[in-house]
């Protein structure tokens, strides 16, 4: 910035700098056009659709806010909301705890650390649909390998995704398997940036490992943990592929989260007006959550 000030001192040069600044706009134009077409246009069009009673291949009629009022008295939507919250809560807490533990482990030096880390992040990169199909096979109540594993450690067999009581925890288990690596990577990046001095001081003062972790590592790591938390919350709310492939919202509607509800409304019942209202509400929830978490992050940074 200092450079900019010295350049601005001479009027001719100031002119040139301003020209540069304006011209950089052309770098952004192509991307802006695409973003406008595939991202902004859908947002606006969705709001427009949501004000209609609109069926794919059928009638459309302006209804104003009717879809929204209908939504708030729709118990199926209410249940989908509750299920999404339950799913998100579990799918955030467990990956965060495991991811933190894994990051602490991978921050230590040990033989074949690189290989172990690569294996650990493989689930995150694997194609979700392919992985979900193989998980489905392991859940088979009679022939699935998971019930065999349970029997080996003396536990009774589970119905996994085939029972209303266990379907959401089972889907969360896959989500944990899938996305704990991302939490680990984000926190590991933070650990790598920590200074060594406080630890040396703590050692001289006679602090033990746990005290050093509790009073040095954790506070310094907080900004990274909050970023990981933001990303995890949003990704958990977005979860669709795995749930759709494995249960399609079933058994019954026991795993029908907002995303599944939305998909069924739009592309199974062709009720795109109503589905668009769901999109708008869901979008507002995600934005509010992101804003809340960014605000928390700002506060963590300050203190």
């Amino acid at each position: 910035m200092q450079q900019a000030e010295t350049i601005a001192a001479s009027p001719a040069r100031a002119q040139r700098t301003r020209n540069y600044a304006r011209n950089y706009g052309w770098f952004i134009v192509p991307a802006a056009v695409v973003v406008l077409a595939v991202i902004i246009f859908p947002w606006i069009f969705t709001i427009y659709i949501s004000a209609h009673d609109w069926h794919l291949g059928g009638e459309r009629r302006w209804v104003g806010f009717d879809n929204y009022t209908k939504l708030f008295s729709d118990s199926r939507f209410g249940w989908a909301m509750l299920r999404t919250l339950f799913y998100t809560l579990l799918a955030v807490v467990f990956p965060m705890l495991l991811g933190l533990a894994a990051a602490l482990a991978f921050n230590r030096k040990f033989p074949m650390r690189g290989l172990a880390r690569t294996i650990f992040i493989l689930p995150m990169m694997a194609t979700p649909v392919a992985v979900a199909l193989v998980w489905t096979m392991t859940f088979h109540p009679q022939l699935g390998v998971l019930n065999w594993l349970l029997a080996q450690i003396g536990l009774p067999p589970s119905m996994w995704v085939y029972s209303t009581n266990t379907v959401i925890p089972t889907l969360v288990m896959i989500e944990v398997w899938h996305w704990t690596p991302l939490v680990m990577l984000l926190i590991l990046g933070g650990l790598a940036s920590l200074p060594i001095d406080p630890y040396e001081a703590a050692k001289i003062d006679g602090a033990n490992g746990w005290q050093a972790f509790r009073h040095i590592t954790l506070p310094l790591l907080m900004p990274f943990i909050v970023v990981a938390l933001i990303i995890r919350c949003i990704d958990a709310l977005k979860a669709f592929d795995t749930i759709y492939v494995i249960t399609q919202g079933g058994p019954g509607s026991a795993s029908e989260t907002i995303n599944i509800f939305l998909y069924l409304q739009a592309f199974a019942f062709y009720n795109v007006g109503y589905a668009s209202a769901v999109v708008v509400v869901f979008f507002i929830i995600i934005l509010a959550l992101a804003a809340l978490l960014l605000w928390t992050r700002q506060r963590v940074k300050m203190s």
């Binding site: 540069y20 859908p42 880390r117 690569t118 694997a126 398997w177 869901f282």
Partner: protein
Amino acid sequence: MIVEAKRSPALYRLRRLIGNIGFGFSVLVLISPAILFFLWMFSLSLKNEMDNTDWPPIFIPQSPTLDNYREVFARNDFLRFAWNSIVVSFSATGIALLIGVPAGYGIAKTNAMRAAALILIARITPGLSYLIPLFLLFQWLGMTGTLTPIIITHLVITVPIVVWVMISFFEGLPPELEEAALVDGATIWQAFRYVALPLARPGITVATILSFIFSWNNFIFAMVLAGRETRTLPVAVNNMLTFEQIAWGPLSAAALLVTAPVLILTLVAQKQIVAGLTAGGVKGG
């Protein structure tokens, strides 16, 4: 610790040994779900149906067979769907690079925070929410049944990834070199093309890999937009499940073939992927 070691070195060494064994064991526990899952997937794909549904499960195939793979290639138009996936992922990644790399440069240079925030919001919005308006649009334009709508919708994922990675990368480059070029009379386009772009090659590699992987893995867009002929691999493999509940061998073989390119890419380019993901926490879908 030094005092303790002097007092009883044997006890200290023993305690360290136990600590190391415990640590090694916990690392094993951490990575075993990933190892066991992929090995089981591989094992299922190498066994015939009798062995796959045997109880107790057979882990190491007694007489491994490639029949499942042969079956996958023999029907289901697997090669056609593979070609679709290749066309879609390469096009979506290529277009995203073409427009996203300059955009990342422009945003980094002008510090356009609003543009960056917009990209971030696009990144956190569920992919599903773009589908209804785009589906209606493609229907009106009569584009359904071709690969074009699928490529266009994949831009929703790839463009934010590329722009986001490139912003953080260009911000990390020292500005002195381009300024020297500008002072010597280069246009800003030349400064970008001949100075910044060659320096940004590692960043472009990261953006390419991530964008390709998330486009390849994407399911929902092609699921809704693809016709019988234009399915991508994730959609094709999902359809196999719907029609053949219990054919575990071919299904595992197909699933493994679909995800193998991505897994191999991860093993080869692990360093770039980690760098890209930690830089912006980007993820598609």
